[in-house]
């Protein structure tokens, strides 16, 4: 278990978005978080790498342990947590820089200077994100010229270049066409050999296709957590069944 949430409550001001969430994420597995819109999936995901720190007036209770250490302990530096727990967003958000600079931006700031090392890193990350063949001749071109699907894979490559242990993905394909979506799903499959992946998705087929574990959320509570196969074939809770059979959500 690489990441564990222990009795987590989360508040936006006075509004409680998560209630008593306890959930473990297994190393080098894909865990999907599903549930109707507004149930707190993104909130939980952003808690795992302290991105919610950016929002004023929020409050966390309970513990989130990363490799056994509470990431909300006062001595923990969120910057270090985010280097080890990367994130891919719903809308592709490349920097208005070249493809090459998008990848090298964060690694350079974290101290990698050697030209050869940087080039290896760029190629390696782009290969892992299955983008290398498409962009190897246009590395100096602006990332803004890529298609949406390519931009999203670039964002994945950019996250991988920091060599994280965990990759958080918040509906990474919801802004993409079916072909790009299929590419990213394949990519997730190949990445799980090396990374722990936690993916929020709106699309239940996607959860069924890519994940080993699935957590179903409703109104800020974790209703059910189990092996994906179990959730989709034989859910324990009535609410889960209603959701996956499309009776609400």
């Amino acid at each position: 278990m690489i990441v564990r949430a222990r009795n987590v409550d989360f508040y936006y001001g006075a509004f409680r978005a998560l209630t008593d969430v306890t959930l473990d994420f297994e190393k080098r597995r894909v865990t999907a978080l599903i549930g109707p819109s507004g149930c707190g999936k993104s909130t939980l995901l952003r808690l795992l790498n302290r991105m919610n720190d950016l929002i004023d007036g929020t409050r966390v209770e309970g513990e989130i342990l990363f490799e056994g250490r509470n990431i909300y302990a006062p001595e923990v530096d969120p910057v270090e947590i985010r280097q080890r727990i990367g994130m891919v967003f719903q809308k592709p958000n490349p920097f208005p820089k070249s493809i090459f600079d998008n990848i090298t931006f964060a690694p350079k700031l974290s101290g990698i200077r050697d030209r050869g090392e940087i080039e290896t890193l760029v190629e390696g990350s782009l290969r892992q994100a299955v983008l290398w063949d498409e962009v190897k001749d246009i590395l100096g071109k602006s990332a803004m010229n890529l298609s949406g699907g390519q931009q999203q894979r670039l964002c994945i490559a950019r996250a991988l270049a920091m060599k994280p242990d965990v990759l958080l993905m918040d509906e990474p394909t919801s802004a993409l066409d079916p072909i790009s979506t299929a590419k990213i799903e394949e990519l997730i499959d190949s990445l799980k050999k090396r990374y722990t992946i936690i993916i929020v998705t709106h699309n239940m087929q996607q959860a069924a296709r890519v994940s080993e574990y699935t957590g179903f959320f409703y109104l800020g509570k974790l209703i059910e957590f189990n092996a994906t196969e179990k959730i989709f074939t034989n859910p324990a809770m009535k609410q889960t069944e209603d959701y996956i059979t499309g009776r609400f959500g």
């Binding site: 790498n49 991105m51 950016l54 004023d56 910057v79 270090e80 947590i81 985010r82 280097q83 080890r84 990367g86 994130m87 967003f89 809308k91 958000n93 490349p94 920097f95 208005p96 931006f105 964060a106 700031l109 974290s110 602006s142 803004m144 964002c155 950019r158 996250a159 920091m162």
Partner: protein
Amino acid sequence: MKWRYFRQSLFFGVVRLSALIITIALLGIIAFLLVNGFKAISMDFFTLPPTDSMTKGGIMPAIVGTFYLTVGAIAVSLPLGVVSAIYLTEYAKQGRFIRIMRIGVNCLAGVPSVVFGLFGLGFFVVFLKFGSSILAGSLTLGILVLPTIIGAAEEALKAVPQTFREASLALGVSKWKTISRIVLPSALPGILTGAILGVGRAAGETAPIMFTAAAFFTAILPKSIFDEVMALPYHIYVLATAGTHIEQTRPLQYGTALVLIALVLGIDLIAIVLRSVVRRKKRW
């Protein structure tokens, strides 16, 4: 039906007329200056100092002085304004303290320029003993345009998509590095446009420099930032009010005004071109 149509065309007519009046006024001023000042414009006008008790010769020292003061005002206000704007938009928790700061900045923008001149005289010239100098004048003008620059920089920073900040922070880049490497470069063209427009205004101000920097007459160019300089707006003021040959120097006055207005419009043009180039290149 007819009545509504009539009302509409009446409304458009009034709008057109207002636009026309403004354009005519602007063109009128320029034409007036051209007609009256054109005779004064020559190569010597740009390259010579005034001669014969300022009734002949050129305005070279005033052009140079205005150039130094303008550059000095930018050098003072740009760093200070950008840092303030970064603090206000990126760091400060939005609350009462920030509201008070904002009101303060807005009040500063509304203070008459002569008050800045008196402040500059009291503080920079006398208290800090800079004397009447480029330094004191630049600082005074710098403070005068500070609210404009803070405002422009805040707008430009707010226009940078939040997703850029999130993308960078999520990679484990610190907040300061995110601001300096991602946010600021994206906002820079907007900041510069605002700064240039602000400085265009400063270049034409008389009151803030007349107690702090401007010399009535000096044929020599400044050697350091502690020297006095002539400046275009003050030169016009002097020729038009204080000389013994007010009527005789009318063409010089208009010529100087023409140069000043060309300078200000030129500065504005740079800002407008910069902005349109950036707008075309911007892709988010």
